[in-house]
Amino acid sequence: MPFQRIGAITLNTGENNIVSALIDTANGFAYFGTYTVPGIVVKIRLSDFTRVGAITLNTEENILASAVIDTTNGFAYFGTQTLGPSDYIIKVNLSTFSRVGAVLVAGADDFVSAIIDITNGFAYFGNNRTSSSGGIVRLRLSDFTITGNIILGALELYPYAAVIDTTNGYAYFGTATIPGIVIKVDLSTFTRVGVITLNPGENSLYSGVIDTTNGYAYFGTYTVPGIVVKIRLSDFTRVGAITLSSEENGLRSAVINTTNGYAYFGTYTNPGIVIKIRLSDFTRVGAITLSSGENILYSGVIDTTNGYAYFGTATVPGIVVKVGVQAVPSAPLNLILQCGV
């Protein structure tokens, strides 16, 4: 299926504002976390694009703004945003689709991003630790225990955009600051080892993807219009940026297909727009404006095997929009014939 909107599921009443998304392509399900009190995890079967269930979490387990999936062991982990100065990480068993437990992390104010290293058995959650700097906590998956904490540098706040290079052992956190900052973390020592402050105007990094094969990360800005900034990982250098078209504002979600060489960014607009970026020459090559009401693309996941992406909307109730992302073109339409002369 070429780059086009395929369809949408409107979730049930109360399943509002989809702010995190996970995918398990091997078993054919996607999971979406809500911005609700308490949080709700909604399960979608991909084969027939159907909502098949939901878990309402416990009191105080609110606003599931970050999530990672351990497809090897069959668990998902959601980070919360509660009102207090501490927040929860919640573990969900995917095979039984049930809540397993929660860890309360003192001092972690709002988990806004998450990444996972399944091979080494850790997940990492970005948070707003204090009013002056953000933080990253490390969760050991085997015993569901917090085993480390990094306090970021001064004014390195709101690490909303996180990507991981498990091959080389680094993570990269983009901050929602003016301008945006990208922080490099050595996962083997769990230390902050580098920082890039982006150019003026490249503000508020709320989305990011990584192409470890070719050695680049891409961060989307929450600006008008949106900007995609390219970071070379080998020497940790900003190497370029694309300013998107008018109306393509607020890049709030992103997915990547490294096999075919494209990234897709979802916007904070009404309705949402999905913008296609060709990575080989770092060029915007197209965009889809979604249907009316499919607003604010806060989260996204991609099934590269079958050629679909799924974007969650920050609407009441939430909507999951399915987009075809294979690299073959769409069919020509309206073939008309006439006799020649």
Binding site: V285, V328, P329, P332, I336, G340, V341
Partner: protein, 108 residues
């Protein structure tokens, strides 16, 4: 056998930024077996098919392609053109399109 031509027009693929072009296919057995008869570039949405046998219904379809493969096909359409002396080339079929008034005769 006398021959004429058929002009095809279509709407561009939505992914026109990344197209290599379009492939044009023809069938003379009712749309069972198609053969590719032409290629045009990405900015072209018309094609003139020549060597069309006068009086023979011919089917056409088009698809886009790029480095990754082919798109789905367009709608399939057929046409039967015939050279009528003193009138010229006329479209004879499909009847439904060419002569909609025949619905009243109970043919459909």
């Amino acid at each position: 056998m006398a021959q004429n031509s058929t002009i095809l027009n279509w709407d561009a693929s939505l992914d026109s930024e990344e197209l290599t072009g379009y492939k044009i296919e023809k069938s003379v057995d009712g749309g069972v077996i198609y053969n590719q008869i032409g290629l045009v570039g990405s900015g072209v949405t018309t094609y003139t098919a020549t060597e069309i046998v006068d009086g023979q219904e011919t089917w056409f379809r088009v698809r886009a392609y790029n480095n990754y493969g082919n798109s789905d096909y367009s709608n399939e359409e057929s046409i039967l053109c015939m050279w009528i002396p003193e009138i010229g080339l006329r479209r004879i079929s499909p009847l439904r399109r060419a002569y909609p008034f025949r619905r009243t005769l109970g043919d459909f």
